[in-house]
Symmetry: C2
Subunit: 409 residues, 2 copies
């Protein structure tokens, strides 16, 4: 994979120019993307800043995120050739910091669950996951050092686990969603994909203006291992990855203990989909009203079902989520991080599904930061998920880096 | 003014058709808008549904709210002639319920504070307020029965007070902001303008799918009168309007008592602007980066200042807001509604300012529902503001209607 920290070190040392770093990406794309199909558009002649903490860093932008210089097509024929007026807030910020939005990456239609044609870089018969399919595949395949995705259920952490790259779904609204197509305003969260946890920390600090975001974290963190029994069991490969991550964390000095989640969290988990679908019915009201027949079957089905959800049921679900957030906040008095599965197992053997978000839904609803750490071992990648308290993105990254280092050592 | 309830009654009785109701608005616009200038675009041939709870209701849509059939120009030359692909969620919902988005109404650039050319319908030398200038003026002048605005500081309640119409800024995200240009994602709230409180309740129920939203409210409500001393004194006309509203509420059986707000609320009020400006700097990053010189001076100044705000100051401000929301929630254990000023006084004698939002900022930051009730008496309108607990939009409307009725009686 292409590492941001490595590219930046070479640029700082004068052995690589920003333009040269962008060319490395173009060469990788030319050589390998034919087998993957991660992109819907590539900028032939982008501005390449010479300065800034992200100078020389090419970024893949999920195609539900607005770009003024490239089409933004939402993974849907309804937006074929659509050109927004402005860059999304996160794209504008990336450019300000020197990054180059080089390409738009594939997305399931409106970031829902109808698969893309993108293939897993580790085995073309497997899904890369979704909805941020192209971003995860591009970084996992070493075509780009940084990509933007969004997560409403599990659309950042799951594809990162399937494609073998690091990723963060930050605290809710740490990165603004301005200029990002809405599916659920209470859930949609912009996330980052990169080669390793250090790359994520560097990029998140640059994007948010929060220098040293992962400094000052606990050196011997207390880690709660959580299996989310309410979401059914994981597959053996995911269980094995979690066990390897636990052992690595202990070797690195962390205090690791199993923990069952209080029932309020299971109750919130059960209601994630209701909140998502109720809001999607409103957010995509124009598309549903005027272009229902052009919607692919899964998102169309979600929007059909949305009409059956009453405001009272939605209000009740939000109250459950609110209660669970307070319970989770108290739980973080006892722990510095939660460690759990990123996905039920490796990428499924199929391009007909983007996989299952059941181990991601709760954390998206809680708005807490989640980091995928790839766990070396199997032919197909499997990751583990490190979760921090709301606003504790730096602590979550620090624990993720500790586990990543220990797994490599 | 044109009343939704009146128009709907005539349509139900068969004495007016939906198309006839739309024609009434066109005739009023032709006769009076030349002196006001409330519109930036009018649809010459809109679809006019025959059915639905809002059939025959023409709506003015603030020009930062996306419409597929009419340009959406954000009050800025940067968006001259811009045509979004889709309708905003609230516009789509209005159409689904039978309403006709007849016109786009003037807005200050990006819903900030640079005045529009719109004039107050009660005196053309006075501001209609802002940022939802055209929507407030159009309803206040009797040109339309319903209009959409947005409030980030005081941009719904203040212009409604200045233009003499009823308005509601509902609970945060009760009406989705999907397809609405963002200034501050933690604050921006879509609101409604109409002739009276009953019209607002009817329209809000239709837009949100919450039938009977204002039923079941307390019949002898406990009302806390709050003067927001931290925001300086109001002018005599606003004080007199508040006194008249208090007396009317007591005549109608309400329990009215003065109340000083706890210090946590003043602390939050002080930090509203910081949150607003920090987020605006990111939300309008593309406009600032690429078109700074095309921005009018006030919004440009706000964005210049935004760059000086640190993430740590923003985080601190959000913690203060969070704390204040909990204090306010407890306070609503003792009261059914808060009654306070809608604005410091009547509309200022000038078109160079949109007036002062200092009595509105706190409530926008708290996310609680606010209703403007016009208080008859003076030549230039003055309103009072009824505030409910978060999610208690129906209760706030019921108390506002009680005061409105008592003021008329």
């Amino acid at each position: 994979m292409l590492s941001i920290l490595d590219l930046r070190a070479r640029i700082s040392a004068g052995t690589l120019t920003p333009a040269g770093a962008i060319d490395l990406c173009r060469e990788a794309i030319d050589a390998r993307d034919g087998d993957i199909g991660a992109f819907v558009a590539i900028d032939p002649d982008p501005a390449i800043p010479e300065e800034g903490p992200l100078a020389g860093i090419a970024v893949g932008v999920k195609d539900i995120i607005d770009t003024a210089a490239l089409p933004t097509q939402m993974g849907s024929v309804i937006y074929e050739g659509w050109r927004p007026r402005a860059d999304a807030a996160v794209v504008s910020r990336l450019k300000e910091r020197g990054a180059v939005p080089l390409a738009k990456t594939t997305t399931t239609a409106f970031a829902s669950s109808d698969p893309t044609a993108t293939r897993n870089p580790h085995d073309p018969g497997h899904t890369p996951g979704g909805s941020s399919a192209g971003s995860a595949a591009a970084v996992g395949a070493g075509l780009l050092p940084l990509a933007l995705g969004t997560q409403t259920a599990g659309s950042v952490i799951r594809p990162a686990s399937f494609c073998g790259c690091a990723a963060i779904k930050p605290s809710f609204r740490l990165i603004p969603t301005v200029g990002v197509k809405t599916y659920s305003w209470a859930l949609d969260t912009v996330g980052l994909f990169a080669a390793g946890v250090g790359d994520l920390a560097y990029a998140l600090a640059a994007v948010t203006g929060r220098d040293g975001i992962d400094e000052g974290a606990a050196s011997a963190p207390r880690i709660a291992v959580v299996r989310q029994d309410f979401a059914d069991a994981a597959e053996p490969a995911a269980e094995a990855a979690l066990a390897r991550a636990c052992a690595a964390a202990e070797r690195a000095g962390a205090h690791v203990s199993d923990r069952a989640l209080p029932p309020e969290l299971a109750a919130a988990w059960e209601r994630h989909r209701l909140i998502q679908d109720f809001e999607a019915g409103q957010a995509l009201g124009w598309e549903y009203r005027h272009h229902r027949d052009a919607l692919p079957p899964q998102v169309r089905g979600h929007l059909d079902a949305s009409g059956e959800i009453t405001p009272a049921a939605y209000d009740d679900a939000r109250r459950h989520a609110h209660r669970a957030r307070r319970v989770l906040k108290d739980l973080f008095g006892e722990f510095d991080a939660i460690l759990t599965y990123s996905a039920p197992g490796p990428a499924p053997v199929s391009l007909a599904s983007t996989g299952d978000a059941r181990f991601n839904r709760l954390w998206t609803l809680m708005g807490v930061p989640c980091v995928n750490v790839p766990v070396p071992g199997d032919r197909l990648p499997v990751g583990v998920q490190v979760i921090g308290r709301f606003g504790g993105d730096g602590q979550a990254l620090a624990v993720a880096r500790l586990i990543e280092n220990a797994l490599r050592g």
